[in-house]
Subunit: 161 residues, 2 copies
Amino acid sequence: MSFSIRKGEIKDAKAILGLITELAVFEKEPDAVVITVEDLIKDGFGEAPRFKTFVAEENDGTIIGMALFYERYSTWKGKTIHLEDLMITASKRGIGAGKALYKEIMKYAFDNNYKRVSWEVLDWNTNAVRFYENTGATVFKEWKVAQMNSENLENFIHENI
Amino acid sequence: MSFSIRKGEIKDAKAILGLITELAVFEKEPDAVVITVEDLIKDGFGEAPRFKTFVAEENDGTIIGMALFYERYSTWKGKTIHLEDLMITASKRGIGAGKALYKEIMKYAFDNNYKRVSWEVLDWNTNAVRFYENTGATVFKEWKVAQMNSENLENFIHENI
């Protein structure tokens, strides 16, 4: 079984959304995905893309994995890359596609002079944590992710403003 | 003592960098800030700004706090806002400027149809965690922040690519 890595294109949007949904199920949030293929196309492949992608493609054209990333800004370091999703479909794990996508992201960041690559990982996903740490990345213990979701944002606005 | 909230401008860049540095000291990373006033001006106030800011300004024109934020993209929800820094200078805490900046960010996100506001918080900063949770935000226990820093990125590239 062999595969190659390339930039994602509009034609991959449906496969990318399939992988996003599969990842949400793995992360125990099966109902969290509300975006559509049309949203992905508009947001990622239009005139002002909000993200970029790489895909892992088998020789027959099947998309088996993807990495989705965009720029952030560190007030300490300057421009950085955030890896939002990195996902290989369950039946295609163990053939090196995940590491190949990870390397492609790191190479992109290095070649384009980004000062950091960041992402988020679930602490019970110990295989992933171990993999990341073995590559030289740091998984921080003290930093917590905080979010105001859409519903609570609306409540906050109505109560406070 | 009274203050007002407004959008940050080029003339505020030096004060903003002062607050960034003060925040880094508070976060026990005093040497982490490598960006300069010139970087901030170029990156935040040029033709394609990488971030936006709000500042809290006293009546005499002194900048006592700032919030720095930018867009991210959720593969579940679509476009989101990330609040990178929210900081009030130590001598001006307790007068409501932090909450005023926080409300301004939430209002900006709500008015512009963003689907989430995210940020990161140190778990030992219990005052901040409590404040955020009281506003309806969630501080996640399972999600960890992971980063590949510049030096380790270079090592990874040299060893793997």
